[in-house]
Each structure stands twice: as structure tokens, then as C-alpha cells.
């Protein structure tokens, strides 16, 4: 229960589909969402295949709480091989897609092969239609979603689509659903583009199976109380993620001018109050009582956001402090289908190194908009940038200045700020990602002694496991906190599924997932050498603010990696030991 145990396999070559049963072992060992998606990826993707070729697969994975009345339970997981990094990728997105897909009666959908021509896939309960999308190819995302909705004539339909960036195989192209909710990182939009899928529409009208509805309702009440009793949530509800702007700047870890200075004299023009004043409509993802999304609307520039990462990377990182301009860049990224984090971190390096050419000296607004357009349509230097951060760094001779780990652009917190943050970026399964663990708050609060590196490393490892479980359930961290903070998640999952979940079992599932994704990455050639920050962060100190002079030395990174591997039960080279796989009971799956 809370599961249909059903996988829908859609073959684009033959325009056919079939339903399969999901092995019980997957549900027991990996929970759902990220976990089950990762298990399928490892099993079905052969080593070395081209992420933009016919052998890559695109996996959409729901989880036990999707579609139920559990608060903040409408996030959807996508798992595939990344065209940006060449390794494991999972990304997720809010909105209402997850609950709608779940109600079709399919827990997981796998897309394989390549369509001969542009196509919209419409999943209506257990029926799949392949609709010619030649007339939609080339459209921006908002128009695409409107056209697909019109075409299907069903107001309850939810749409996930790509824009021209995905079509043109830009390696950091995003996917959007509900217009401006994005599963953005790692180029999943290009994977859909390579398969000629313009959009995936879903409409589900099946009952969501809940094993014990009466007790589930009680557990949901409890969950709501926990959420509303948390003062952190109240602030998130009022201000959303822009609330991070001021403290990040105050603590000196703002990415300013391509991660050189850590602080600006003032960020008042782009802080939470500034964006609150620009909010025209509060919005919410499905079943979410937090409703942290801020609808921005000025003329045609409409979006949910901008969120903190976009503000940081298109704001201070590019030397911009105009909130409307940041919203405009965000809007174009949304419409073209570009990841704002990778785009922002890449453009920061391009502007700072003067590689935007003669035009680079023009007005910033014009320069940035032109670069975004040129990337999307692969024109001039845009064609080089569209190949991703590492490749662009090599081509333009600016590798040293590109903020990335494993090819993934670094989010809007300078990794020199803290050991924990550095380690999070270094070890994240998909390359530089800030969402796998969040030690920074504790580090700033002084939870660990200054010399207690081991404490930080252990925390990162443990929270990574918990976060993987959270993304396998799937609920939003803005309601529940990062990881598994109390028994309410195991309780809700147990009652809704009729299975027996505890915190301990969930943590174990999370640890299994981290080992599967690592094995996938090792198979693709990742080594210990790939687990470091770019040289710049080890050599050059932050130039301004309270962290002035701070670096993340190579020896410190070395020490943390040694410890991290040890806590994980991995070798000195970062490979899971036989004994670890045995302990986790996943040796047969590899």
C-alpha cells in the first residue's frame, strides 16, 4: 500500500509501453524515489554509454508518500546519467506533478530509446499516448505547457517539459513542471531533448492506496503540528529561500564576482524583504502547508521565485544587485530551460575572465541575456559554454576560474567558508551540490570545536544517508528539516505502506543508496582525484569580509577524504569495500 508496485516502461523507438512489477527487494532496501531510481539506473545503464545517446534511460520515480495527504509530499525524483558530468544524476522538483503521476497507478516510469520525431508522452492512468509534437519543437517552456494543456483539454493535467536549451542538448538544460518548478541540475533536460521528448503530461484519477487511512490521518495531524511548531518553518513560510541572502552575506560566504570576495557592503536591495515586496501571488506545491513559493510578476516576466541560489549566482556573483534584473535572468533560464546554478556559476567565470569578448564590456543586462540566448541556441561562444563547465574551462583556457566539482557548477555558498561545506560539495554523488547535507548552520553555531574535523566529517556522512532516505520518501526539507529528525517520517511511511519502517532502517536505506551511486560513478571512471575542490579554493583566500584570507587547503581536503572514506567503509581510493557491500546486503545487486 501507498505503492502500486508498478513500473511503467515506455519505449520510444517502437512507441510501445508495458507495466512490470517492481521487485519487492527494491522497495525493502531502497524505500522509493531516489533509492529505487538509483537501483534501476545501476542495473540498466551499461558502463560508458553516451548520456545523450539511445542507451541512456530517463527514470521518473515516485515514493510512498507522494499523492497521500502527508504534508509537503509532492516532490518528484528524476534519475539518469548526466550529460553534464558523465556520472550519476538525480534531481527533483516540487509543484504538483508527483501527486498526479502517482495517481496514474505507476510508481516508477522508465523511458528508453529515442523517438523518431518530437513527441509528447501523455500518461493517463494506465494508458500512454504518443502525440506528435513537431509543432511544439522550438517553443519556450511556458508556451509549451499552455499548448499541451490546451491540446489535451483536461484541466487537471500536469506537464513536465523542456525548452530550446534541452532540444539543443545544452549540457545543463533543465526540465520544468507546473511552468516554473525545475528539476534543473545536471542536464536532465538535454536527456529528454536527445530522446525527442518535448513534454510528459500526466493525469491520474486512481485512489491513492493507504493501508490504514484512519491512523494515517492521525499521523498527518502529528506531522502538521511538528511542522508548525518549528519556528524555522514559520520564517520559511513568510520569506522563502531569499531569507538566506542576508545571513550568507553577513557571514562572508556570498559568491561575489565569481567566488572571489565573500561579502558585499550591503545586500538590502536583494534580500528577503526586497523580494517579499515584489511578490504578487503566494504559491504552494501539492499538499504543502508551508507554501514558501513567491510568485513574481511584472509584465511577461512571471515565475515562482527567484530562489536563493539564483539570487546569489545571478546577483552578487555577476556583480548585480537589482532584484528585477535577477528575476528577468531567472525568467529566461526558465523559458529556455537552463539550470540557473550551473549557468550562473559558469557566467560568473566567463565575465570575470573577460571571455565574453568585446561585448562583455557592454551593459551587464544585455551581456548576460545575450550569453543565455547564445548558450541556448549554441551560437558563437555560447556553443562552447553549452558543452558544460569543465569543457568550456578547457576550451577557453580558464579552468582554474571555473567553480565546479565533477563538472557540476558550485551553488551559492563559497566552499572555503567551512570544512563541512567543502566536504559536502566534494563528495556529493552528482557533483557540487548543496542539498546532500547541511553542516554549515551547526558550524556557524559552534556545535563542533574548531579542531574537530572528524565530528564534521561524520556528520556529513550521516546526514547524506538521511537526506537520501528523505528523497526516497519523498518529502520537502523545508517542512521537515534536512534528514530524518524524528519518528514522524517512518511512522507515516509505515502506516501508509503497511510496511515496518524505523529511523534505523531508513538510514540504512540511505547508506545503501550512497554506495550504489558511488559504484555507478566509479564505473564511469571517477577516482579520488575527482573528489577535490578546484585548485583556486585551495590556493587563493577569500578577498573580503570576515573570512578574508580563508582557503580550503589541499591537505585539509586530503584529511577529510581519508576520514570520510573510512566512515563510509570505502578504500583509500574511495571504493566501497567488499565488507561494506556485504553489511549493506547489496553485493548481489552490483
Amino acid at each position: 500500500m501507498a505503492r502500486y508496485h508498478t513500473l511503467l516502461r515506455i519505449n520510444l523507438d517502437s512507441q510501445s509501453y508495458k507495466q512490470e512489477e517492481i521487485p519487492q527487494e527494491y522497495e525493502k532496501k531502497f524505500l522509493g524515489g531516489k533509492g529505487i531510481g538509483t537501483a534501476y539506473l545501476l542495473k540498466e545503464i551499461k558502463q560508458g554509454i553516451d548520456p545523450l545517446g539511445p542507451l541512456n534511460k530517463f527514470i521518473i520515480s515516485t515514493a510512498p508518500l507522494n499523492g497521500t495527504t502527508a504534508p509537503a509530499s509532492s516532490r518528484i525524483e528524476i534519475v539518469t546519467k548526466s550529460p553534464l558530468t558523465g556520472i550519476y544524476l538525480d534531481c527533483n522538483s516540487g509543484g504538483h506533478f508527483a501527486e498526479e503521476l502517482k495517481a496514474t497507478g505507476n510508481d516508477v516510469v522508465i523511458f528508453e530509446g529515442v523517438s523518431g520525431k518530437p513527441v509528447v508522452i501523455y500518461i493517463h492512468n494506465n494508458k500512454v499516448s504518443f502525440i506528435d509534437a513537431s509543432n511544439l519543437w522550438g517553443m519556450h517552456i511556458y508556451e509549451t505547457e499552455n499548448k499541451v494543456r490546451q491540446m489535451l483539454g483536461e484541466p487537471g493535467v500536469r506537464v513536465m517539459s523542456i525548452g530550446p536549451a534541452g532540444e539543443n542538448l545544452v549540457r545543463f538544460a533543465s526540465i520544468s513542471n507546473d511552468y516554473s518548478r525545475n528539476a534543473a541540475r545536471g542536464g536532465s533536460g538535454a536527456v529528454l531533448g536527445s530522446k525527442k521528448i518535448k513534454a510528459i503530461a500526466v493525469r491520474g484519477t486512481r485512489d491513492i492506496p493507504i493501508a490504514d487511512l484512519k491512523n494515517f490521518i492521525k499521523a498527518v495531524k502529528k506531522a502538521n503540528k511538528i511542522i508548525f511548531d518549528n519556528p524555522w518553518v514559520a520564517e520559511q513560510r513568510q520569506y522563502g529561500t531569499p531569507r538566506s541572502v542576508a545571513p550568507v552575506n553577513m557571514n562572508g560566504l556570498m559568491p561575489v564576482n565569481n567566488f572571489t570576495e565573500g561579502q558585499l557592503p550591503s545586500v538590502n536591495s536583494i534580500d528577503e524583504k526586497a523580494f517579499e515586496n515584489l511578490t504578487v501571488q503566494r504559491l504552494s506545491c501539492g499538499e504543502c502547508p508551508v507554501a514558501c513559493a513567491k510568485g513574481y510578476g511584472k509584465g511577461k516576466i512571471e515565475l515562482e521565485g527567484p530562489e536563493y541560489e539564483t539570487i546569489g549566482l545571478f546577483g552578487p556573483n555577476l556583480g548585480i544587485l537589482d532584484p528585477d534584473l535577477i528575476a528577468e535572468f531567472n525568467y529566461y533560464c526558465n523559458e529556455y530551460g537552463l539550470d540557473t546554478i550551473s549557468a550562473g556559476s559558469l557566467l560568473g567565470a566567463v565575465l570575470a575572465t573577460g571571455k565574453a569578448g568585446k561585448e562583455g564590456s557592454g551593459k551587464k543586462r544585455y551581456v548576460v541575456l545575450k550569453l543565455l540566448r547564445d548558450i541556448t541556441f549554441r551560437k558563437g561562444i555560447g556553443n562552447i559554454l553549452a558543452e558544460g563547465l569543465k569543457s568550456a574551462g578547457r576550451e577557453l583556457g580558464i579552468s582554474y576560474f571555473i567553480p565546479q566539482v565533477k563538472g557540476m557548477g558550485i551553488p551559492a555558498y563559497d566552499p572555503r567558508c567551512s570544512e563541512g561545506t567543502a566536504l559536502v560539495y566534494m563528495t556529493a554523488d552528482r557533483g557540487a551540490c548543496h542539498l546532500r547535507s547541511w553542516p554549515l548552520g551547526r558550524e556557524l553555531a559552534g556545535v563542533w570545536d574548531a579542531d574537530d574535523t572528524d565530528g564534521r566529517v561524520k556528520f556529513v556522512k550521516e546526514q547524506q544517508d538521511e537526506k537520501a532516505a528523505e528523497e526516497s520518501i519523498i518529502v520537502c526539507q523545508f517542512a521537515y528539516g534536512i534528514g530524518l529528525l524524528n519518528d514522524i517520517l517512518p511512522e507515516m511511511v509505515s502506516i501508509s505502506t503497511g510496511e515496518n519502517w524505523t529511523l534505523k532502517k531508513m538510514r540504512l536505506a540511505g547508506e545503501r543508496i550512497w554506495n550504489l551511486s558511488r559504484i555507478f560513478n566509479l564505473r564511469e571512471g571517477i577516482t579520488r582525484d575527482d573528489d577535490y575542490l578546484p585548485e583556486k579554493f585551495a590556493k587563493e583566500g577569500i578577498k573580503k569580509g570576515p573570512l578574508k584570507g580563508k582557503v580550503m587547503s589541499k591537505s585539509k581536503q586530503d584529511y577529510m577524504l581519508d576520514k570520510y572514506y573510512e566512515f563510509r567503509g570505502w578504500s583509500k581510493n574511495g571504493a566501497p569495500l567488499e565488507s561494506t557491500l556485504k553489511r549493506l546486503e547489496i553485493e548481489d545487486l552490483i
Binding site: G67, H96, G156, I208, P289, E304
Partner: protein, 126 residues
């Protein structure tokens, strides 16, 4: 006549009301069985649909089975008579056809959604 009012300045489109409605009226979680629908209409626009007990109930005359009546309890569907033909849903977008196609779903102001709404956007008005 009392009706369910949605305060558009407060609603965020979370659809918690939809699931609450389906649980109260049908005993299951199924937003497609809800009598209130909050649709996304554009990037930041919502559409709020529920029967508002209007002055000109075209659903009544549209129904070939006389299954929609207007009496002291208001405008409502008599489920024994409704055969799910959908004629009412053709003339008004505030009545919905059940996914099984067996009946029309119309709000009867039971109020289950009101306490579920985290934004206090719902109320019964006269």
C-alpha cells in the same frame, strides 16, 4: 443560501482541500473525486472552482434525469437519480464528473475542507 467561499487573496493552490474533500465524501484520497478544484491556469495564476449556489443554476435545467434540485437545502445532486451522463458538467465548470463516470460531484457545504486549509482561505457564507 449558504455556499463555500474561497478567498482568492489567501489561497496558494496547495490542494489540501481537494484531498480533504475526497476523504470526507468518498472515504479515499483521490483529488479527482473532489468537489472543489484548484487548477493552475498559468505561471502564477490559479483557477478556483467550487459550486457557489449561483442565482442562475443552469445545471438544473441541463440535467435530463432531474437529478439536480433546488430546495431548502440548496442546489444539490440527488445521487439516486444521477446516472453520470455529464450534461451538467457541460454547462458549468463548477460541477465535476467522477472518474468512474457514474455521478456528478457537487459541493454540499459539508465543511470538511475548511478546517484542512492551512491558509484559512475557506469559509461558509450566506
Amino acid at each position: 443560501m449558504s455556499y463555500l467561499r474561497i478567498d482568492k487573496t489567501l489561497c496558494t493552490g496547495c490542494r489540501i482541500c481537494e484531498a480533504a474533500c475526497s476523504m470526507a465524501k468518498e472515504g479515499v484520497v483521490n483529488r479527482a473525486k473532489s468537489r472543489i478544484r484548484i487548477y493552475r491556469r498559468d505561471v502564477i495564476k490559479l483557477q478556483y472552482l467550487v459550486c457557489v449556489q449561483c442565482r442562475n443554476p443552469v445545471c438544473i435545467s441541463a440535467c435530463p434525469e432531474n437529478a439536480i434540485i433546488h430546495d431548502e437545502k440548496g442546489i444539490r445532486v440527488i445521487y439516486d437519480k444521477c446516472n453520470g451522463c455529464g450534461a451538467c458538467t457541460e454547462v458549468c465548470n463548477r460541477v465535476f464528473l467522477s472518474p468512474e463516470g457514474d455521478k456528478a460531484l457537487m459541493c454540499d457545504q459539508c465543511g470538511a475542507c475548511i478546517s484542512a486549509c492551512p491558509e484559512n482561505a475557506l469559509s461558509i457564507r450566506e
